[in-house]
């Protein structure tokens, strides 16, 4: 059969970045930021995130918290992303983001308040511009694009300093239209947006391979005309470095990029899930060998700066912080019932006052 001659119009590569392998050995020279002090701070935050998650699951099991989505095993992504952001940048998170929230300055008790069934937790007292946790998958990525538009607009039209938006989602999110629409718009309008995909291999029970025929999730950015990269999501140095470069590009007016951080969900989807129904035990065991904390600790130990004594001191300090947050969370009085009307509109329209008064009388 005659084969027509065709011209190659475009071709693409997907790069992958790693600095620290699963044994904590460097695979290449580390970037300048990776000083022992910085890495210890990142290790501390990742450890705190794991403790906050662990305590949340325990509180859920004992009736002190509602359904909770742990980020066990993915601490390097959240912490690395948020640590690379400037305070003035705006974070537009999904719901599985304990490490990132803590690093951004959201209080532990605020995270517990959200999952304890109380909107007041989303009123982040120290982080006023970051978007609230978003539950419907990938929807927050469009908010991220909108925030990025606003930041660019305020820079260009209203002479404010250039800032960037960072949004995150899981591997499942990359199957949704919201994801494609957000990266397509960001590319088209050159928005200062960084999209981080936490590829933890599972969207509840559907594995990464069931989500798409794409070999990587990073390559989906090619369709939007934006640069992308895959990083070892269990290597906080790689995550931090990739996000730092992406933000530099965004701040300089160079537009959006996408980072696929490859990790593994070492926990159930949420406390309402039982991953043993679908996660192969052998795969889980192998994934534990690649988890992010141990490799970073191993590296710090090779520097001679870290050891059992410092580990124990840090654990004690973090436990105190955690206990105090749990205490604050537990002692908070329940919100008044009429609060459900108080922020429905800026000013409650007269048409709803009767319902408000009825609820007031009932409670």
């Amino acid at each position: 059969m005659h084969k027509p001659r065709m011209q190659l119009l475009a071709s693409f590569d997907i790069a992958s970045l790693q600095y620290l392998d699963e044994r904590g050995q460097t695979t290449q020279a580390l970037p300048d930021f990776a000083t022992p002090d910085t890495l210890e701070a990142l290790y501390r935050q990742m450890t705190l995130a794991r403790m906050v998650d662990d305590r949340a699951v325990k509180m859920q099991r004992t009736g002190q918290l509602g359904t909770y989505p742990s980020s066990l095993g993915q601490e390097a992504i959240g912490v690395g992303v948020a640590a690379a952001m400037a305070k003035e940048d705006v974070y537009c998170p999904n719901y599985r983001e304990t490490g990132a929230l803590l690093e951004r300055g959201v209080r532990i008790e605020e995270i517990y308040t959200i999952w304890g069934g109380d909107e007041r937790g989303q009123n982040f007292c120290h982080v006023r511009e970051d978007l609230p946790l978003s539950v419907p998958i990938a929807t927050q990525m469009l908010h991220g694009a909108g925030v990025a538009f606003a930041l660019k607009y305020k820079h260009e039209q209203l002479s404010q300093p250039m800032r960037a938006a960072v949004t995150s989602g899981g591997d499942g999110a990359t199957s949704k239209g919201d994801f494609y629409e957000a990266i397509n718009l960001a590319g088209d309008w050159k928005l200062p947006l960084v999209v981080v995909i936490n590829n933890n291999q599972w969207a509840i029970s559907l594995s990464r391979s069931g989500q798409t025929a794409c070999r990587t999730l990073a390559q989906k950015a090619i369709a939007a005309g934006i640069p992308s990269l895959q990083v070892d999501g269990n290597d906080v140095i790689a995550v931090y470095q990739a996000v730092t470069e992406a933000l530099q590009q965004a701040h300089a007016g160079g537009g959006p990029s996408l980072i696929e951080a490859v990790s593994y969900r070492l926990c159930d989807h949420t406390t309402a899930d039982d991953a043993s129904r679908y996660q192969p035990a052998e795969e889980l065991k192998e994934a534990w060998a690649r988890e992010p904390l141990r490799r970073l600790r191993a590296y710090l130990e090779t520097l001679g700066a870290w050891g059992e004594a410092r580990e124990e001191a840090m654990q004690r300090e973090l436990k105190e912080i955690l206990e105090e947050s749990v205490r604050v969370y537990r002692q908070a009085p329940r919100d008044t019932a009429t609060a459900i009307f108080d922020h429905l509109y800026e000013t409650l329209p007269e048409a709803f006052v009767e319902q408000y008064q009825q609820l007031q009388g009932d409670s």
Binding site: L142, G146, V147, G177, A339, P349
Partner: protein, 331 residues
Amino acid sequence: MAQITLVEAVTQALAFEMQRDPKVVVFGEDVGLNGGVFRATDGLQARFGRERVLDTPLAENMIGGMAIGMAAQGLRPVAEFQFMGFIYPALDQILSHAGRYRNRTRGRLSCPIVYRAPYGGGIHAPEHHSESTEALFAHIPGLRLVVPSSPARAYGLLLAAIRDPDPVMFLEPKRIYRAVRQEVVDSGEALPLDRAFVLREGRDITLVAWGASLKEALQVAEQLSREGIEVEVIDLATLKPLDIHTIIDSLEKTHRCVLIHEAARFCGVGAEVASQINEYAFDLLLAPVQRVTGFDTVMPYFQLEDAYLPGVPRIMTAVREVLEYANGGVA
């Protein structure tokens, strides 16, 4: 002073507010260079630039969602959906986020967005271009729902919607986009977002409608006045929050009421109005409230749309029935 149409009043309000407030940004499909398929944004890009009047990629869910991030950052996004029948991909964003952001964050962030869309039938358009599904949005907490029915009200209500600190669905009755011309003072004066308008006073029966259906309501009133029957006509205008007081005040005089809307009957906004009349003004009624609405069918292709829409004959029949209704036992 120039006489302008409803769609020109929309443009005039957008221009006034863009001039006044640099945070107002207009975007949607074909709203820039082309000025919108109905020309509602005609000339705005030339006047305010491509940075403030933007043609978006073709994705309605994206339009709905990006507005939320823009609003959370303090901009005043005015998003156009090209037709009401194309809003549905964005329902998730509107329902799950726009109407909830203020409450979810306990007031930390809010969504001062205007989602504009032409709506309603009667212009012989293809399928999906003639929808009246306002009740879907009336059911969403945290939203306002506004339907203008004249150039002056389109101008004043749209200004109010853009300035409002919460999300507003602003549905423009495209059948009457160019039906009448009216003098509209470009004063920047907004109308309240929680008041119905009495368009014609009468003592015998109250007709409540919104959008393009008011055209038929007023025709019926005019015809009946020749028989000595005086019909009061109310433009509900702000469907949510709903101004039941203006309707009750009217019923104090007329004691009889017919509700008219193009949308399907079942769970239409008319059902809510009837229910509230029942709750607050049952004793005033001399006859059951009647509804003249679209049928509980799919909006037909345009060959049959006149059969679907509540026209003058159906309204007239309902009005006469309500006027002639006599409760057997009561004098």
